[in-house]
């Protein structure tokens, strides 16, 4: 009889299962609608960059050219799907299968960390953000494009209801990611609500 799966193994299994049909779910609607906001956020890329949760690489076409990016993802199947987009990128993307909680990088390795619809799925979001805080240089920047819960009726209740269903197959819909970023030790620089207070970009910094 096999041992119980860890939260990271459960997350990996969910995304491995979704990988073959993820593009058909996300690329037609969500990515097209979010393109201007993601392109604007990723335009800040410079220096030594960590991209957390590359997935199938749907974000890669929005990256500015010529960057050197280290990308990780917990799901090997998702990264397999990303290979063509990685190869097509006009720059360098080094992608590895890795759990954010177990990153081997030394403290202060990166100038910037980017995430895109990631912290709805990281099993322990504050611990994951603390891991990002550790690998950032002092003064390093965190840029996030995330969907979160809402602070407003009736959207808050709807996101709670949706989470009951969505967590079975993938992401949570009701996380308070801005508070989690603060709890991990970052200083918030700017939050931009893209749709209601549910889809947003977050810019934060590790105190120097």
């Amino acid at each position: 009889m096999s041992a119980a799966l860890t939260p990271a193994e459960i997350t990996r299994a969910k995304w491995d299962k979704l990988a073959p049909r993820f593009d058909s779910m996300a690329s037609l609607g969500a990515e097209k609608r979010w393109k201007p906001f993601k392109t604007k956020l990723f335009s800040h890329m410079q220096g030594k960059i960590l991209f957390l949760a590359l997935g199938t690489g749907l974000d890669i076409p929005f990256f500015p050219k010529g960057q050197q990016i280290t990308a990780i993802d917990i799901s090997p199947k998702m990264l397999e799907e990303a290979q063509d987009r990685i190869a097509a990128y006009d720059g360098t993307i080094s992608a590895e299968v890795m759990d954010v909680h177990e990153m081997p990088y030394a403290e202060g390795t990166f100038d910037q960390v980017f995430t895109s619809c990631t912290f709805c799925s990281v099993p322990d979001p504050v611990a994951g953000l603390k891991a990002l805080h550790r690998v950032l240089k002092p003064g390093g920047q965190l840029f996030m494009f995330e969907h979160t819960g809402s602070n407003h009726y009736p959207f808050r209740q709807m996101m709670d209801f949706m989470t009951i269903l969505s967590e079975k197959v993938g992401p949570s819909m009701n996380r308070d990611t801005v508070s989690n970023v603060k709890a991990a030790g970052f200083e918030i620089v700017e939050v931009e609500n893209v749709f209601l207070d549910v889809v947003k970009t977050i810019k934060a910094v590790k105190a120097g």
Binding site: G29, V191, E192, L196
Partner: protein, 124 residues
């Protein structure tokens, strides 16, 4: 609201469709003699499910949260309002469809207004 025409028209039409379908389902299920509160309590979650069922083939072409939230919200309200009205007095089929459509229009306008208030930049 999103000012790109494709999304304005798409969001509007999907919300309208969900309102009509949820209204017609409420008309088919609820009848005179039903307790009004029971009709509303049943049709709220059922309307949300109808919204989700229409979201996946149609709304998902328009986005994730930007389409999913209005779909569920419209389904919930159209189902609840038409269910309530049908419990109080028998409605002709076309009135149920019209009322559902009106709910669809009202809800997408509500979402656009809420979005115009909530979206934007907050600096630390």
């Amino acid at each position: 609201m999103d000012h790109r025409l494709y999304y304005v028209v798409g969001d509007f039409l999907v919300s309208l469709l969900i309102g009509v379908v949820a209204g017609l389902v409420a008309w088919a299920i609820v009848g005179p003699g039903w307790n009004m509160w029971a009709a509303m309590a049943l049709m709220m979650p059922l309307g949300m499910v109808i919204g989700m069922l229409i979201y996946f083939p149609l709304g998902s072409r328009l986005g994730a949260m930007e389409a999913m939230i209005p779909s569920m919200y419209t389904g919930m309200w159209a189902g609840m309002v038409v269910g309530m009205m049908e419990a109080m007095m028998p409605l002709p089929l076309h009135h149920a469809a019209e009322m559902g459509a009106a709910c669809g229009v009202a809800e997408i306008i509500f979402i656009w207004l809420a979005n115009s208030i909530l979206r934007g930049v907050t600096k630390a």
